[in-house]
């Protein structure tokens, strides 16, 4: 048991247990695996975490996490500066990058407007977005925000405030996902897909 393993191991287990996907039991297994493979896992992981802690920062322009300033996406001249994709968090940016379908730049809002939690516009990186969108280089702002009440409330708020800046504002389509079978979809998705139908 951890109680007899010494305070260092206990602390390691407790910290690992705070990570997403890990509970107390899986944290214990992870700690054991790290300690068993010190040279292959524990030491490199310690080094990688120290490096990440020291070097990774939020990009002052887009809010993405990177070791360089500006981040590698903002600094990449092959990307189209006229396209700006707005995402809720860095996870959304990574998801879009994984797909490789988008070659513009990003803006990480840092959350969503939330009536329930009282999160207002001042808590998000909205002023920074408006400044970027209004700098004359951006042609289109793509709102890649969640299809939830808060996500769409935020999208409407942004589109209203971007309206006067002379940029086109678009949002991601909502409907049947690739590989989705109709009889497995919820009523909301089917109804939304029907409303968004287009000529075949």
């Amino acid at each position: 048991m951890a109680a007899s393993a010494g305070p260092e191991i206990e602390r390691l287990i407790a910290l690992l247990g705070k990570l997403p996907g890990l509970g107390p039991r899986s944290a214990r297994r992870a700690a054991l695996a790290l300690l068993k493979r010190k040279d292959q896992l524990l030491t490199p992981l310690t080094q990688a975490m120290a490096d990440a802690g020291a070097k990774v920062k939020a990009c002052s322009s887009c809010g993405a996490l990177d070791t360089s300033e500006p981040c590698s996406i903002c600094a990449d001249h092959s990307r189209d500066p006229a396209l700006l994709c707005v995402v809720e968090e860095v996870g959304g940016l990574w998801a879009l990058e994984r797909g490789g379908a988008f070659r513009g730049r990003y803006h990480v809002l840092g959350g969503l407007l939330s009536a329930l939690d009282g999160v207002g516009p001042e808590a998000l990186r909205i002023n920074e977005l408006l400044a970027r969108a209004g700098d004359g280089r951006v042609r289109e702002v793509i709102l890649a925000l969640p299809a939830t009440v808060d996500g769409q409330t935020t999208a409407h708020y942004l589109s209203e405030h971007l309206a006067g800046l002379g940029v086109q504002v678009t949002s991601l389509a909502r409907g049947v996902p690739v590989g989705g079978e109709l009889d497995w979809l919820d009523d909301g998705t089917i109804a939304t897909a029907l409303r968004a139908r287009r000529p075949a």
């Binding site: 509970g23 009536a115 009282g118 939830t148 009440v149 708020y157 919820d186």
Partner: protein, 243 residues
């Protein structure tokens, strides 16, 4: 403890990696929180949002503790409102006010049916702000602070009721209220009957009226302000000249 009931989702929060804690407004059991196993899954997420209509099967071993629920979605849910920012603001305000005002585990069927009427009305932009005011008036009624609009508090007359006393919530007629009209709240006719119709400023008066009593009787004693969602809704409607 076990029950099955019709419900609307008021809010949902992630709990752990795969679960969620959901707050429901049920038809027979009132406001109730429950753990939803697998609430973070792609299958469950679409209806774990404010305004989603569900059938909830609730179960707990000890009645005082948080139990778990299985939710079956009914109908399309809030996605039908995604293209209407005003309606989204109305939905958020209603869910937040109901969640903050209603005590937990106390049956308030009137609040459930009031919310249902509002959610159905949200698809009709011309009428829903007035239905929202009626929803809040109904909520006050459910909480025991209902407005008494049946007759004039001063004269007993049932005619010309155009004011409400900010202290008692009772109607006041035009004649009796004239000397105090600056201190009285305006009573919009649509709160007296559905046939009264809507004029400019009526919804504004209604929101001022219900907001006053929500603050005075419900949120004030809890030392809390009106929920931000409600403030944002009023600001938004005012900004759009929809009051």
């Amino acid at each position: 403890m076990e029950w099955e009931d019709d419900a609307y989702v008021l809010s949902a929060r992630a709990h752990g990696d795969s679960g969620a804690i959901v707050e429901l407004l049920t038809s027979e059991h009132g406001r109730w929180a429950a753990h939803i196993a697998g609430g973070a899954s792609r299958k469950m997420k679409p209806f774990l949002q404010a305004g989603a209509r569900v059938v909830a099967q609730y179960r707990s071993r000890v009645s005082e503790q948080l139990g778990s629920a299985v939710l079956e979605p009914v109908g399309e849910g809030p996605s039908s409102l995604f293209d209407d920012p005003d309606a989204l603001a109305g939905l958020s305000a209603a869910a937040t006010v109901a969640g903050a005002a209603l005590p937990e585990r106390e049956a308030h069927p009137g609040a459930f049916y009031g919310l249902e009427a509002l959610i159905l009305a949200l698809a009709h932009p011309d009428i829903w702000p007035a239905v929202y005011v009626r929803f809040e008036a109904g909520l006050l009624q459910e909480l025991g602070f209902g407005l008494d609009l049946s007759k004039c508090a001063a004269t007993g007359s049932t005619d010309d009721l155009i004011y409400v006393s900010p202290r008692t919530g009772r109607a006041v007629s035009a004649g009796a209220g004239e000397p105090y009209k600056d201190k009285l709240l305006r009573l919009p006719p649509f709160l007296l009957g559905a046939q009264a119709g809507l004029r400019d400023g009526d919804v504004d008066s209604g929101l001022i009226l219900t907001g006053h009593f929500l603050e005075q009787f419900v949120f004030g004693p809890l030392n809390r302000p009106l929920p931000p969602a409600r403030v944002w809704l009023v600001d938004r409607l005012r900004e759009k000249n929809r009051l």
